[in-house]
Structure formats: structure tokens, C-alpha cells
Amino acid sequence: MDHTRLRNRTIFILVVLIACVLGLTGIPKNFQQLKENLANRIHLGLDLKGGTHMVLQVHVDDAVKVVTDQALERLRDEMSSRGIPYSTIERQGISSILIKGVPDSKSGDLDALVGQQFSTWTLQRVPGQPQSRLLNMKVSEVAMIRNQALDQARETIRRRIDALGLVGPEVADYGRGDYELVVQLPGVSDPTRVKNIIQATAMLELKLVRGGPYPSRDAALSSFGGVLPPGTELVPGNDESSGSSGGQVWYLLNQVAAVTGRDLTGAQPSTGQNGQPIVNFTLSREGAVRFGEITGKNVGKQLAIVLDNRVVSAPVIDSRITDSGEIRGNFTTQQASDLALMLRSGALPASISYINESTVGPSLGADSIRDGIIACIVGFLAVMVFMLIYYRGAGVNADVALILNLIILMAALAYFQAVLTLPGIAGVILTVGMGVDSNVLVFERIREELRHGKAPGAAVAAGFEHAFRTILDTHVTTVAAAAILFTFGTGPIKGFAVTLTIGLIANLFTSVYVSRTIFDYVLSRRQKGEALSV
């Protein structure tokens, strides 16, 4: 090989090496800064550094139900205004509305109504019930609402967690296509508070009180002769008279809310007249108009503040209120500020439940990192020392390739902002194993060619040529499997696939290209007749 080519290759390798090292360390001024830069650039997984990892299920069908209920109300109104008679109309399942008792003569009108006003729905007859119709939400619409609910839930949760001021939280899809989200909270070892904040639907409604409080549901029902007045509902709440430990009471409220959380433009924790924690909120212009109208008409009556279907408090309306108000309850300072946070970040479109939670305490994380580093260093040193003893001169070559491989791998992980987890370390180990294997394959082959009497230069060339095919096959096979793992796997399996793939690509470069260049360099400096150290 001529010297220009050798020089170009050397320069290329050095450029790669410097780029990777600088990518990892930056330009540190001292050792402390070097450590910090490394820690900032190599992202360790929660299993290694401690923190909480949660998988939560978003019950997206809640959102579908809400849309169906809204459509049902609209349908009821439209049918009465168009004079289409019916006997009953109700929701079936999550996305269907069953209409009963539509006379044949009006069937065409109903078809027309659905055609004009309910474009995302299809109307079908019910077998055996000639006067019934089933209104089904189109499948594409259901899918869209579900996805929207998931997106909205993800964003809402992200806003809530961000507002908590945690370091480096992450909210993402879990990747099983089952409307699940994964939430990662580095450094959080007691997730209870965060969980409550995430999980609260934070659906705020202000509703006029029509009666109550009643000591129990039955008592409330019996005072109306067992049937609630139309347009009202019973909602539980705390008994304000008996303090925070109070028992449960029931209020009779208007079903339609005066204003809801959607009308809010802001919410702040504050202290009330007696120094107790409260939450102040402000309303949008539209909400303020509506709120002013309702409160103006109902001065002296009670207004219930309903949070997630529970009455928090039911103050008396002193005067007309327009654009702001306050929520009083038996809050602690923390509860008030959490509530304000949840109201600011908006309501969740669907309820949420936790299906998995894992917390690695920070002390375990610290121990894992220390033990892991010790084990890796011991392992690598053992391998490198052995290569030196076994292959002597060529051992240096292999060790250089191995170190360069690791540097490239780490730099690539930092560049892609990939997270190094325990399974990721498994990927690194397999990479190192296959890296060493590549070198061994080449060296053994060179030895074999030398035994067959080839000159060093020819032996090296033949060794690389033969071994390259093997190396390529083993690497492509493994990368093919890793690609599958990456595409279909989740979490830890994905982490394994990422490091493995990067590592193997780096390895093709180091154990073939770099190693060959070093051999060529050694050969070019060799005196005639001198043996090759392999």
C-alpha cells in the first residue's frame, strides 16, 4: 500500500477519534468539569441512576363516551325541533345511540337529519325492531377521538410534570399501541404526590345548588319522593360543618354547569381572609359573561364547586361575580398549590390508571453505577491484557481497535441522546465480545497464512480478506435481529437493540478498517526479513 493512502486513512481515523472524544468530553478546563460533561452527555437509564418509571393506561373510551353523550343531547334537541317523535333515546356501549319508537312516516326525516348534521355517524335499522334505529359513530371517528384523547392526555400530563419543576422528566408513548403512556421521573424516589397530580382528572365545574346537603343519598331521594327533578343530579361532597375529617353529604345540583374548567384562563394558590389556603381563578371573557349572568340571577343561593364529580365547597353567592372567583376547601398549602397547578394544566380528557410502577432508590442507583463501572473496567482490562500477551504486537492493534470501538459507541449514544440502561450494557458486552472476536478471527487467519509460508504482507492481506466475509456475516445477522428487536420491542429490549446496532457498526469500522490501517503502518515500517508480531 502506498504511503499517501496510508496517510489519508490515518488522518481519517484520527478525525473520527477526535470528533468522538470531543463529542463526549467537550473542552473541559479541569477534571471536575470533565466528569460533569461526561455525566451530562451519557444519559443513564433510571435502572442505573435511580428514579421512578411508571406505565399508565389512558382510558380513551371515556372521551368517546363524552362525544357520544354530546351527540345524543344534540340529536334529542334536533329531533324535537324538527318534529320527529321518538319514545326513548339512549347511549349503547361507548359509541352508539339507540333511538326507539320512530314512526315509519318520519323515518325519512331522521335519515335527512343524520345526513345533514351527523356526518361522522351512520344510521342503521335494528333487526326485528322496525321502529328502532341505531346511530353508530364511524370507526375512523372513534379512532381519531381515541388518538386525540391520548395526545391530549400526554400533553396535559407533560404540562403538569413540567410545572412541578422536576429535572429531566419524560412522558412518551409506551409503544404497545394500547393507549399507554410511560412517565419517567429521574431522581424521584417518592412518587406518591406526583402520581396524584398526574392522575387527577381535574374536571372543574361550577353548578348551582338546588337542594341539600343531605346526610345520605337515600335521604336526598326520599325528599323528592324517589324521583329527582329533571335536569338535576346528586353529587357527593364533604360535610363542611364538621371540618376536614367530616363525613360525606349529598347535594342536589343542576346537571348543566355554569362554567367549567375549560373557561379558566388562570389559577393561582393564595390565602383567604382567615389565612387559610385557597385557589383563585380567572375566567375567559366568554365564561365571565355567562358566569355574571348566572350569579347575578341567583344572589343568595349556593354555588357548588365540583372537582372530579365531588363537591369541594358550596359557598353562597354574595353578589354578581364575573371574571374571577376563589375555591375554598379544607386545603393544606400543598393541596392548594397542587390544585391550582392541575387547573392551569387543564383537565384530562380521559381517566387514567397506573398499570406498572418501578422506583429505583438513589442509593441503589449509586451502588449500581459504581459496581457496574468496576466490573466493566476489570473485564476490559482482563481482555486487553490477555490480547497483549497472546498476540504481542498485534495485541496492541486489537486493544486500540477495542478502545476506539467503545469511544465511538459512547459518542454515538451521546449524539443520538440514547439512554444507557442495564440491557444496554448487555448490548455493549456483546459488542465487545464480537469486537474481540473480529480481531481474533483476523489474527488467527494471518497466523494460518503465515504458517502456510506466505510473506507477512500477503498474509495480512489474505487474513483480512478471508476474515472479512465471516465478520460481515456475523455482524449482518446480528444487526438483522437487532433491527427486529428495535422495531417491535419496548423499553429494555429496545435499549439493548440500540447499543448493539451502534456497537456493531462501529466494530466493522474499527476491527476491519482501523486494524488494517495499523497493520499496514507496521508493515511499512518493517525491516526486510523481520517477522510480524502476531
Partner: protein
């Protein structure tokens, strides 16, 4: 230095010993799975609550169990893990029935912490436990008690000072050698910024319990079985991808032999996990995937040599050719396996408790993966080619010609 100088071992002649040994291991594993230990799945593949706790002194496991039972928690599994000097204990509770909501999922964890606080804390003192406190709660406490007299300097200065101080103390507590447990508040005096006033303030509001929660896993009923299924499917898909690639580069039978060998490795490793009663966790799955990759790599190296030797061996018996190929690559096989073994052995010995199951799978996997390339994959190949050679499926000649063509590609 050289281990083998042109070895000449008749590997294929010993194939029945190999197959016998493999069958014995497989059967032992299967028996263990069927009637002995079964397969011990990690908590992430089942459901329930698993809490790992480190104690200052050797804990009384019986007392913990009794207290849990008093609180109506039946079926708790309590066992020591890691070296005895670590006093680490893993406590596991099944999920409460009908538990799917967040609160119910938390119940088990809360019950364990309550029992441990009763046994190893000072629940009645009205103080908080410093060893299980978050840096935020320590910061809040310091802000109120203000041992450094920062109130006059404004809330912002005080908050940021106490925040840093609390974080530094928690860092000190959580890093080795304390590893989460402080025995005496005076130990904190080595943390920069901690004055005697801070220590005495802490002593008024905190006590030092004899335990710290290191790890919590709560798994709902739905995830476990899903994860298990997914791990199996993804692994099978990965194997299929390898099979297809080897089919394309070599021949179908090479791919099939390699995949059978890898299957053999995974089954034996899982069997050994059952025999030793070790838990199969998600990390172990990652180790099994590594083993698949490693074993496949090893097999391909041997097969590649067979492919290379084929054109020059028309007169040679196929079994002899396989022997020759294995012998030619033996030095490399021993070296690579030995070195990889060295690396994972370091992981097994020094890697710490978190990595233990993972490292065990790797140690076993490297040995089995190397063995199977010689003892399982190659004999299958020889068996198939000898059948083909006896005029079974295809003429021997044609098979060779195809292989030559493939090799030249």
C-alpha cells in the same frame, strides 16, 4: 503464544456424547420446571408489589412477616438477597384482589413501609425518618427551622441555600459507603456547609431508622402476561430474521441448524435458571437475547469455514470436512469465548446485586453458546448432508455444486 497447534480432533465422532449431554441438561431443566422449582418469573412478569430494603443490622424476617400478617397481608414472600453483610431483603406482596386503580396498587408498598417503620423506626416519636426522607422534605424542614439564620436575607437566598444543603446531604447519604443508611447525625458533619446548628436542627425533626427502601416495583395485573408474551414474540421474530439472512447467504439447512442450536442454548439456560431457583427478570431476557446473538455469531464462524472449505473437498467425507473446519477455527473459538467469558465473569463477580441475574445468564450463555456451535449445529448439518448424500432429498453432488456457487457469490 498459542493454545492449539493444528489440532486434529474428531468432533463429529463424539456427537452422541454431545447430544447425550445436551439431552441430559435439557431434561434436567424440564424436570425442574415441571416439578421442582418451576420458572420463577421476576415481578415485572407477574403482578404484585416488590420492595427491596437495606437494613443497618441483620433484620428479623419472621417479625416482618408476623407484622404484615397482623395487617392482613397474606402470602408475603420475604427473603435475603445479595451477600449477607449487605442486609438486603426483598419483600413481595401479591396484589390485593380487585385492585386495578392507583390507590390499590400503592397499598402493598404502603403496608410494607408502615410495618418496617413500626419495627425499625420511631413511628411514635412524631419525627420523620431521615434515611427515607426526600431532599425536598429535608429542604422544607430546614426552611422552617432555619438553623443558619437566613430568614433576614430573604426567602430566595434561604430557599436556594437549603435546597443545595439538603441535596448535598442526601447525596452523601445515598452514595457509598453509606449507601442509603446513616447511623449517626454526626456523620453529616463531613458534608460541606453542614454546621453543628444544622445537625442539632435535624435531630429535632428527624430520627435515623435502621432501614432504607432501595427499590420498589409495583406491577398491575395486565402488564405482566403481556410483557412475557411480547418478549417471546420479539425473540422469535429476531430468530426468524437471522434464519432468513443465513438462508440467503448459505443454505436453508445452515439457518435451520443454527436456529436449532440457539434454541437449545436458550432452553438449557432457562432450565438452569429453574434449577438454581433464580428469577427470570426483564434484564435476564436481555441477557438471553445477548446469548442468542453470541451463539449465532459463533455458529456462523464455523459454518463460514465449512463453506470456505467446500470447493476444495469434493473427495472428502462431509463429516471430516466439518471436523477440519471446527479444528481450524478452534483456536479462535476458545480465545473469543474465553475472553468474553472473562468479561462476563467480572460482571458476575463485581457487578453488584442489580446485575446479578443478568450476569448469571451471560456466564452460562457464553459457555453453552460456544459448545452448541460444535456439538449441536454442526452434527445437524452433517446429519442432513449425509441423508442428502444417500440419495435422500437431493444428490450429494448437486448440494455441493450449489454450495460452491453460494460460496463464490
Amino acid at each position: 503464544m498459542e493454545f492449539f497447534h493444528e489440532p486434529n480432533i474428531d468432533w463429529m465422532g463424539k456427537k452422541w456424547y454431545f447430544i447425550g449431554a445436551s439431552l441430559a441438561l435439557l431434561v434436567a431443566g424440564l424436570i425442574s420446571i415441571a416439578i421442582h422449582h418451576g420458572l420463577v418469573y421476576g415481578i415485572e412478569f407477574r403482578s404484585g408489589t416488590q420492595v427491596t430494603v437495606k437494613f443497618a443490622k441483620a433484620p428479623d424476617l419472621g417479625a416482618i412477616r408476623r407484622e404484615l400478617e397482623k395487617d392482613n397481608w397474606k402470602g408475603a414472600s420475604i427473603q435475603s438477597i445479595g451477600p449477607a453483610s449487605e442486609h438486603s431483603v426483598m419483600i413481595e406482596l401479591p396484589l390485593q384482589e380487585n385492585a386495578s386503580e392507583g390507590a390499590a396498587l400503592d397499598a402493598g408498598k404502603n403496608a410494607i413501609v408502615k410495618v418496617l417503620t413500626a419495627l425499625y423506626g420511631e413511628a411514635s416519636s412524631g419525627k420523620s425518618d431521615f434515611n427515607n426522607a426526600t431532599s425536598k422534605s429535608i429542604e422544607d424542614y430546614l426552611l422552617v427551622s432555619d438553623p443558619l439564620g437566613l430568614a433576614s436575607k430573604g426567602l430566595e437566598t434561604a430557599t436556594s441555600t437549603y435546597e443545595k444543603l439538603a441535596q448535598a446531604m442526601v447525596q452523601f447519604r445515598d452514595n457509598p459507603p453509606q449507601s442509603g443508611l446513616i447511623a449517626d447525625f454526626q456523620q453529616l458533619s463531613s458534608v460541606p456547609g453542614v454546621t453543628p446548628a444544622v445537625i442539632s436542627a435535624l435531630q429535632k425533626g428527624f430520627y435515623l431508622s435502621g432501614f432504607t427502601v432501595r427499590n420498589t416495583e409495583v406491577v398491575g395485573p395486565k402488564v405482566g402476561s403481556d410483557l412475557r408474551r411480547q418478549a417471546v414474540y420479539v425473540t422469535l421474530a429476531g430468530l426468524a430474521a437471522m434464519l432468513v439472512y443465513i438462508w440467503f447467504r448459505f443454505e436453508l439447512i445452515y439457518g435451520v441448524s443454527a436456529v436449532i442450536a440457539v434454541f437449545h442454548d436458550v432452553l438449557i439456560t432457562i432450565g438452569l435458571f429453574s434449577l438454581f431457583g433464580k428469577e427470570i427478570t426483564l434484564d435476564v431476557i436481555a441477557a438471553l437475547l445477548t446469548l442468542v446473538g453470541y451463539s449465532m455469531n459463533d455458529t456462523i464462524v464455523v459454518f463460514d469455514r465449512i463453506r470456505e472449505n467446500l470447493p476444495s473437498s469434493k473427495r472428502e467425507n462431509f463429516a471430516d470436512l466439518v471436523n477440519r473446519s471446527i479444528n481450524q477455527t478452534l483456536s479462535r473459538t476458545i480465545l473469543t469465548s474465553g475472553l468474553t467469558f472473562l468479561a462476563v465473569l467480572a460482571l458476575f463477580l463485581f457487578g453488584g446485586e442489580v446485575i446479578h441475574g443478568f450476569a448469571f445468564a451471560m456466564v452460562v450463555g457464553v459457555l453453552i453458546g460456544t459448545y452448541s456451535s460444535i456439538a449441536i449445529a454442526s452434527p445437524i448439518l452433517v446429519y442432513w448432508q449425509s441423508r442428502a448424500g444417500k440419495g435422500g432429498v437431493r444428490g450429494k453432488r448437486r448440494v455441493y455444486e450449489r454450495e460452491i456457487a453460494t460460496a463464490k457469490r
